[in-house]
Point group: C2
Chain length 379, copies 2
């Protein structure tokens, strides 16, 4: 819906900025997938990948809806990667994934159709890969900090699946989570329950056990896909070498759902400023309407995004309850009472703190607060 979609766009823009900052190039692959390339990698069978949606072209040729894009992008790269000069490449997209989950659950935390930011890295050597892997690990931490989850999100060791021994997950502490992690508070990292027993290094009793939501994951793929699909480059010496790959995912909708879970109170959602659908929720009561219209225009001129509740047949109480439910960071109220002193009431959704500010000072004041919040949250 429109308010949620604005939050999604804010989250996606933060992710986009951080991916571009480490050399990511945005593109868009298709959902419809030719079975041939998936047969080569061994992931077409429903016994190997149990979340396929499959359908048919008019020609009866069987096709699938992409649940991830390693195969499709590796195949595409064969047109663009020939020599060592063509590497490294870091390509990403915000693209709809389809996964035929037996049970979709937890609202937007697990759905059969969802947008994923997936980046794929193509490097010449394992060392070049490792260097990029470190960079994107830091970029992910920056993203979760910027969207407001920095304090409760842990870099977490997890299984590497069929790709490598380990992968890294980004796990956000939350009772609604499906995962269990063990936190090493001294080191500021965590270990997923699924691998901790195989790990001699950690003493469970010294770690803090907690429920968490997996908000991102990053994988070293090695040459699993470049071998299967024949993505090779020619080295300086003329050797043909398979490309070293990695894949890196974040679901913006799951991130949005996690933010809701982490910040919400009994009255409703509490959006952090960086992802909020609007900065300001403006409410006009009784005679305040004209002044509120003026303020609405002035705030927008300062680049402040305003949701203006100009409904006339709705009570003050209902407007306040809706503002709490929607969770925009600042609620402004213009009423007969505030107008008597040319003022406006400013309430913080998060702290509940109320200030009375002169209307003519308000746009500049909020603009300055917005700028300082942005500065604090940017890397």
């Amino acid at each position: 819906m429109p308010l949620g979609w604005r939050v999604m766009e804010n989250i996606m823009q933060i992710i986009r900025e951080e991916m571009n900052a480490i050399g990511g190039q945005e593109l868009l692959l298709t959902s419809l997938q030719d079975s041939e390339i998936w047969k080569k990698s061994g992931r077409w069978s429903d016994e190997v990948v149990d979340v396929w949606f499959k359908t048919r072209l008019k020609s009866e040729q069987e096709i699938g809806l992409a649940n991830t894009h390693e195969e499709a992008l590796t195949e595409l790269m064969k047109n663009h990667v020939h020599s060592y000069r063509d590497l490294p490449v870091f390509a990403y997209q915000f693209q709809t994934k389809f996964r035929n989950e037996l049970r979709a659950k937890s609202g937007i935390l697990r759905t059969r159709e969802f947008i994923m930011k997936d980046l794929y890295s193509f490097c010449r050597t394992q060392e070049e890969h490792d260097e990029f892997y470190e960079k994107i690990k830091q970029a992910y931490l920056t993203i979760f900090k910027r969207v407001g989850l920095g304090d409760v999100t842990y870099l977490t060791f997890a299984s590497g699946g069929s790709f490598s021994k380990y992968s890294h997950e980004f796990q956000t502490l939350c009772d609604a989570g499906e995962d269990i992690i063990y936190i090493d508070e001294k080191q500021g990292i965590a270990i997923n329950e699924e691998i901790i027993d195989g790990e001699g290094t950690y003493d469970k009793s010294k770690l803090k056990k907690a429920k968490a939501i997996e908000v991102g994951n990053i994988f070293t793929l090695g040459t699993r896909f470049s071998d299967a699909l024949g993505l090779l480059y020619q080295s300086k010496n003329g050797e043909k070498i398979p490309v070293a790959m990695g894949s890196y995912g974040i679901g913006p909708a799951r991130t949005m759902g996690t933010i809701v879970e982490v910040y919400a109170d009994e009255k409703g959602i509490v959006w952090p400023l960086a992802v909020a659908p609007f900065h300001v929720h403006l409410i006009a009561l009784s005679e305040g309407a004209n002044k509120a219209e003026t303020l609405y225009a002035q705030l927008q001129n300062q680049g402040i995004e305003v949701l203006y509740d100009d409904r006339q047949e709705v009570s003050a109480g209902e407007k306040f309850a809706d503002a709490d439910l929607i969770g925009i960071p600042w609620r402004l109220v213009v009423s007969d009472k505030t107008l008597a002193t040319e003022s406006c009431e400013v309430k913080s959704r998060r702290s509940g703190k109320i200030e009375i500010l002169k209307m003519n000072e308000l746009p500049t004041y909020l603009r300055a607060r917005l700028d300082s919040a942005r500065q604090a949250s940017s890397p």
Copy 2:
């Protein structure tokens, strides 16, 4: 691919601005569709709609991939529209449509999977609908003007399909087009060949026949879907009245393909400034590299988007040919020759005109040209 995707994003942003300007609210619906609502509207059967992709959930329940979204949004609106106070609503999305075409063809002009901007209008009365219909008709003309197709795009009378007697298409003159239109040059409008013989009003011999690409279409739906799905509102008098609907589509990728067809020359693509993937294509030759690096930074500081060809092992001729092929509006060359006079060569991709400009004046000069081009193309 990355350059094309930047063009797509520019086109989508122009469409978004024009949809927001007439009160559109952006949201996102799902591709996966429950068959029930399509059975109610009579469009689930493959005999009625022959482009369905269908698949199944784990529960064996049959689902479809949306080829359009009238049913889904009408059903959703039943949660939000109850009283005349809840209307009108204008909701739109940029969403992937799936259509099982027998033959996909003409590159990106007709594909089985494509992003569509589809807006749906929900009005109280036919008059309210007609008023909005006029507004969005103008907004569409503005969009095609802004992306650079204004001079060759005609508002065209076409069949209304099963919805109403007529609809309007936006047809761009182009030999690659699949449609034939008859242009009334005096009135500045056109009639689609498919309906002209049924129309007594027009004398074909006085009209200009031309091939064209349909880049947009707008439909009056009446109460076809609100009746079928039960989207009713309560009027001031307490009557239950079906909502008057319309739907309005533009395919950004087809628009992009049409721009390529209309502007390209024998050397490659020629992007209009408003949609170009970058404003400037910067090429450094020989000793120019250091100066080009500085210029690259200065241009970006002015908000000018620069594609910097810093390849070292590629000849000047190859760089020039690539610049022509990619089609970015301004090509800048920094070489020994231009550096001797602290200058830079600026070539217009479209006109081929070359100017020699002082390097220190260049960022401000291009910024001013960019601003005046923006002003000219904005509504």
